[in-house]
Amino acid sequence: MSARLSPGDVVRVGGVGLRTRPMRAFLSALGIAIGIAAMVAVVGISSSSGAELDRTLSALGTNLLTVSPGRTILGEDAELPLESEAMIARITAVEAVSAIGRVDAKVYRSEHIPEAQTNGIAAYAARTDLLAITGAALRGGTWLNPATERFPSVVLGSAAAERLGIGSAGADTQVVIGGVRFTVIGILAPVALASELDSAALMGWPAATRWLDFDEHPTTVYTRSVEAQLSTVRDKLAATANPEAPNEVDVSRPSDALAAKQATSQAFAGLLLGVGAVALLVGGVGVANTMVISVLERRPEIGLRRALGATRGQIRTQFLAESLLLSALGGAGGVLLGAAVTTGYAAYKTWPVVVPPWALAGGVAATLLIGAVAGLYPAAKAARLSPTEALQTP
């Protein structure tokens, strides 16, 4: 007969060191916890931001294509023909078309502002269906309608309103565009799929023509198409918009740009994950250090246990179990901490909270691996100790 310890006894004996020196156990587990928390939080936050992008894209749709003039062969700014909007609308798979056209006028808060302080705000003439097609929303006030588009009324993009120092729209809020006073009737919320609108001052097409000598050439045409035929539409757009010079037309899909931005931040998350892994490794070294000291200090206990009949294997198991417990505690704490950080950050950003289960499982597996590796040497050392030597240590 050979006495085997039951799993419960292994855990109980492995926990002796943690129970008798709780502060040390806490601190070395903390090292592991910080590493794991960093890794889980990085994965969690980047997953949550990915989920937020998916949510945004599914709300905004990925079937928005924009057409804008590029450059001529000679490198000059090209322009879209006057009839390009109508031509694009004739493509069967295109469901809706809207456009903005750049107005050559500067935007100021009042007549007293020096001419050079343009704040980088661009004036545009906008079609009244722009909001629906770009997925833009108003933060306050109203959008242009068939009545207001004929009068000097303007809707400001979110950044434009901020730069001009305008908090809310109203009949007595006015800005000066190209020397003409325009009433601010609305302010937009940031537009995810058309960020150029954020720093724009948008007025009606007829108003721009009447007061600011607008040439009526569209500078961006927004189209919504049947999702399944998006690539066909994309191929046709340039030639349709400007049949004489299709090479002078740029076609883009704004949702691609958002996804690309996401991919960039994912690459950055990879780097942060590496930093977390280093922290975890340092935590592992901390656990190994604690275990080595623990074995040195507890030589009399090891000697006693050998006298009580513990085999070398049982001593090794005891210290390996202690190391595993220590890092498992740290790992559990780290996983909770990482999930809490993710939840807090996502809540702050109003993102959906996503902590991938594989990250949690991976975190726990990593701690167990670290614990096993960190405990291997101290446990072997403890097992090799001769019982008489261990007992003689005062």
Binding site: R305, T311, R312, P387, L391
Partner: protein, 224 residues
């Protein structure tokens, strides 16, 4: 019970701790191994307790040749056949007397409830039934040593080895501990006490006196 035959122990190849010792302790004896420090009596304890192996010679404990046992078999022998009592008690701090005693049975293969019930029984046997839940630091030196004795005998091993069991105690507590060892002997346990104290040694039925790694006198041999 214990059979040593021409047992020598050398440390580092030059220091001779035991020099060809031959002795025989019968089952049911109560014997003292006595000698000044450096006489080799601690080495004797280690070898008899199978904590150390001799450089040469034969050691038989409870009929088993120690040299032929693996680490597992030796551990098993210690777990089930030998109880140890040390001068420094070696009790775990922050652990109740009951759990300290129960821990002595950890490596015997008993389940925890059984270990605890045997531990309670052993504490009762050493007269500490009222101290079961106390921490070692709440106990007097004599009580600590009695807890350590309870731990050694909880599994009812046939052999009890006590290394200076009264060394850290005042004379009154020491007398109590010696009385307890005599009781255990009366109950059938073979008890070997290692001591430098001649008075204690002389109070036991048999004395094995040691000096410089040799047995210089054995009262059993005289009687025979």
């Amino acid at each position: 019970m214990i059979l040593l035959e021409k047992v020598s122990k050398l440390y580092g190849g030059s220091v001779t701790a035991l020099d060809s010792v031959t002795t025989h302790i019968e089952r049911g004896e109560l014997a003292a191994i006595v000698g000044p420090s450096g006489s080799g009596k601690s080495t004797m304890l280690n070898i008899v307790g199978t904590l150390d192996r001799p450089t040469s010679g034969t050691v038989r404990i409870d009929g088993q040749d120690v040299a032929r046992l693996s680490d597992r078999r030796l551990s098993e022998l210690r777990a089930t056949r030998i109880g140890f009592v040390f001068q420094q008690f070696h009790l775990a701090a922050g652990t109740s007397a009951l759990d300290n005693v129960a821990d002595g049975l950890l490596y015997t293969g008993m389940r925890r409830p059984e270990r605890r019930s045997k531990a309670a029984e052993a504490l009762e046997r050493v007269g500490l039934a009222h101290r079961v839940g106390h921490d070692p630091h709440e106990l007097s030196g004599g009580e600590k040593q009695r807890v350590a004795i309870a731990r050694a005998v909880a599994g009812r091993p046939p052999l009890l080895l006590a290394d200076e069991p009264t060394g850290a105690l005042d004379s009154q507590s020491g007398a109590g501990v010696m009385a307890l060892l005599r009781d255990l002997h009366a109950g059938g346990t073979t008890v070997v006490v290692i001591t430098h104290d001649r008075e204690i040694a002389d109070s036991l039925p048999r004395q094995i006196r040691m000096r410089d790694g040799r047995i210089v006198e054995d009262t059993a041999a005289v009687l025979r």
